[in-house]
Amino acid sequence: MATELRSILATDCGSTTTKAILIEKIDGVYRLIVRGEAPTTVEAPFDDVTKGVLNAVEEVEDLVHLKGDKNRKILRNGKIVVPQKDNLGVDAYVSTSSAGGGLQMMVAGVVKSMTGESAERAALGAGAIVMDVLASNDKRLPHQRIERIRHLRPDMILLSGGIDGGTTKHVAELAEIISAADPKPRLGSGYKLPIIFAGNVEARDFVKENLSHKTDLIITDNIRPVLERENLGPARDKIHDLFMEHVMAQAPGYKKLMTWTIADTGMKKMEQVPIMPTPGAVGNIMKTIAKLENIEVVGVDIGGATTDIFSVFTDEQIFNRTVSANLGLSYSISNVLASTGIDNIMRWVPFEIPEYQLRNMIKNKMIRPTTIPFLMKELILEQAIAKEALRLAFEQHKEFAVTLKGTQKESEIADAFAQTVSGQTIVDMGSLDILVGSGGVLSHAPRRNQAAMMLIDGFLPEGITKLAVDSIFMMPQLGVLSTISEKAATEVFNKDCLIHLGTCVAPKGKYKEGKIALHAKIELPDRVYEEDIKFGEMVLLKLGVGQNAKAKLKPLSGLDLGAGRNTEVNTKLSGGVVGIIIDTRGREIHYDESLNKETMRIHLPSENSERIKALKKWMEALEVYPKNKLD
């Protein structure tokens, strides 16, 4: 038996693509050797996710051979060999998955903005898509709630409500509604729907009486035992367990895959390693970044079907994760168009294109999600859509990542008259240290400058923010790997996964035509850059990975870089494969019709030819696309 892992194979079964990486210990350090990928095979005629896994692993084997190691094998007779013997097999095989459509849940709580939201947070934290939040005060009539449950057919329901020892009436009402709906799961007509009750302990008997004979009822600790505290862990763990047992196991080939994921950790017998939902795994990595560096982080994983946003903010390092179901770049690309509208996508496109052409292109990608852009113009269009998917997902995240609702440290007179008690978002773009991107469109962008521009336009960082990207989209695999070897996960993450793009300098404030926005003096290794930069510019200064530049940055015309309006900031700027990006396009409040609320946006000329001119100027400055392709 091995005493430490010599080699690890990790796969991520995405909704579109199955990715496989091989990690080996070389001279005492874990390094990524190769990465292969293949289409995910939940599709007919195979209906078996393991076929895609084997195809991706075969590609890994081929790539290892191409690198010169002709004798290295992982598979024997179509199976992954664990543990490694000489040149055959690996010491661990782990996997994550988001194939199979994900876990779709409904949650219920007494007060929508309190236990309802706590329940939502627990479900999202476990990697679920929350289809609806039922609450006693959601203004729907009982029969409407019943109809909703019957119509949505969730995979699971999380029922919460009431602090321990509090009133049981409203929890009882919700249990009665769920019981009356007699909900059936999506998959398998013979299964009972799993329902987790994580509410007032005093309501347990009543909930049992109403739900235990009709559903697969599981009772766990209250997610909000007292008003001031959330206790999401037990419910989250239970959701995760049930997901593996009830939902993932129903997806084609998963039962087989679950028997494959094992590790030789040097114990007496091989250990099974549970398959982890992809968002949970990426969350692990994001938390690790924040913890190791003690910084505030926003991360994104933009996939084919969903966009997951992760953030760690405040001194307490509060972690939040949201899954924007149906905001993705393949299966749900058409939903990005439906959600944001054609104009919001077109504003990022630096050329004219008839609306019908764009609409048909988007629909064709929806029905054939694994295709990739061959033409430069198609790449530009997909990246324009990606910016909108990122923006919409981030807006949802900001609304969700709030201080705990229902509690207030200090009350003012005005609060006494307030109808609702609402929390404030803890997402502060001004204090954000690093923005990390992952997912196909960001990791596989032909130029890293494109990833940088998508992150900046999608998230609109303010002040001074580092940008990074997952080199080849392997954060999910490293997230699950961290559960068996934090050392291996961290070493590969630092050396092979995280690509530092550079730093974005973006003063916050309103665009003023013709005015100077920033006076910048930046000491680069080969020269000193000293300029007055007007509003509406993007400037790229090359500064390599590991290099730093001393900077004096004086925002003007009422702009703010984090220290206050018109206040100079003396700092160090880190380089990266792209460099330092100065963005003086402003950050101003704008009413967004697609979201029906005010959001931040950059200043874009309203006249079409001027807008195209501005986009081209910025894209040229950042070397995003080849110059001749923009003409």
Partner: protein
Amino acid sequence: MAQAYTPGLTISRHIILKKDRILPLKGEVVVKKGDKVSADDIVARTDLPGEVVPINVANKLGIPPGDVPQKMVKQAGDKIEKGEIIASSKMLFGLFHSNVTSPVKGTVENISSITGQVLLREPPIPIEIKAFMDGIVSKVYENEGVEIENKSAYVQGIFGIGGEITGEIKMAVKSPDGILTSDFIDESFQDKIIVGGSIVTLPVIKKAIDVKAKGIIVAGIDDKDLKELLGFDIGVAITGHEDKGITIVLTEGFGPIDMADNTFNLLKDFEGYKASMHGKTQIRAGVMRPEIIIPIPFKEEELKVKEEEATGLKIGSPIRIIREPNFGKICTVSALPEDLAIVQSETKVRILKAKMKDGKEIIIPRANVEAIEE
């Protein structure tokens, strides 16, 4: 290099098909193994629980929730008629009665002394499952449904809308690039499945609905027309439940694209045959594509399904290009280079070389082709 599986659409003149016909809830299977069934025959049935009607009896009688059970005239499980008294309370020293009557026919499901709610359930809703395609019952899943097996000519579409229908195939255009216009459609298309060519427009679909055609098979549709037909913009491709009076199956995609020759010729050769067709499309999780099934005569011993093989692309494989440029064009694989190549978008990908009909050789990312499976 490993030969990764390339997804494709099946077009076949003789394929052995198996279709599960499963109830949404357990119920009764009304056919047995070996029975010959026709598409419209019922094979299984069940009752879905009826709708629930909640009544807050405590509020209506003005009593505390805890007193509700004592005031109930009807108990849980009792049958009730519309207008029947379900709860009653005496008021003003017994001089007056306050009653709660049932707004529906059904049964009393639950009486709650905590919330004061009484839940009534309407009678069950019967659900019947049809065979959908002519064939033989090859398997019975007790209380759940059956598997039907047959031999068919078969076309798998790429996207569709509308539920299951059966009808006779009738050609409306002469060639795969023909454009279906309203002039081609008249009363003779009633109950028929119309085969168009490259594209269908909204006015033509409306005309087809007017003449009571059952379905349309066509290569492409403009997204704007689909949006107008449905009244909303499709966000994710989960379809099949649309109730527009017609089922539409696209064989190629969105925009004007010629129908593949072999698809068009197959449909032409089976003109006048009865076909079963649905537009159900689900591209995520348990992928479902729309289908056109044209049952053909068979002997029982023929019903042996070939094992599916993970076929990779080979030199000479027929393929369809599914992304610009050349979207919709059919060609054959002429080379499968191992090394990654950089295409116009600067993306580094695995490619293949393909020979077009005019003999020209082009380079295409492997992800941008679809195998034509026969």
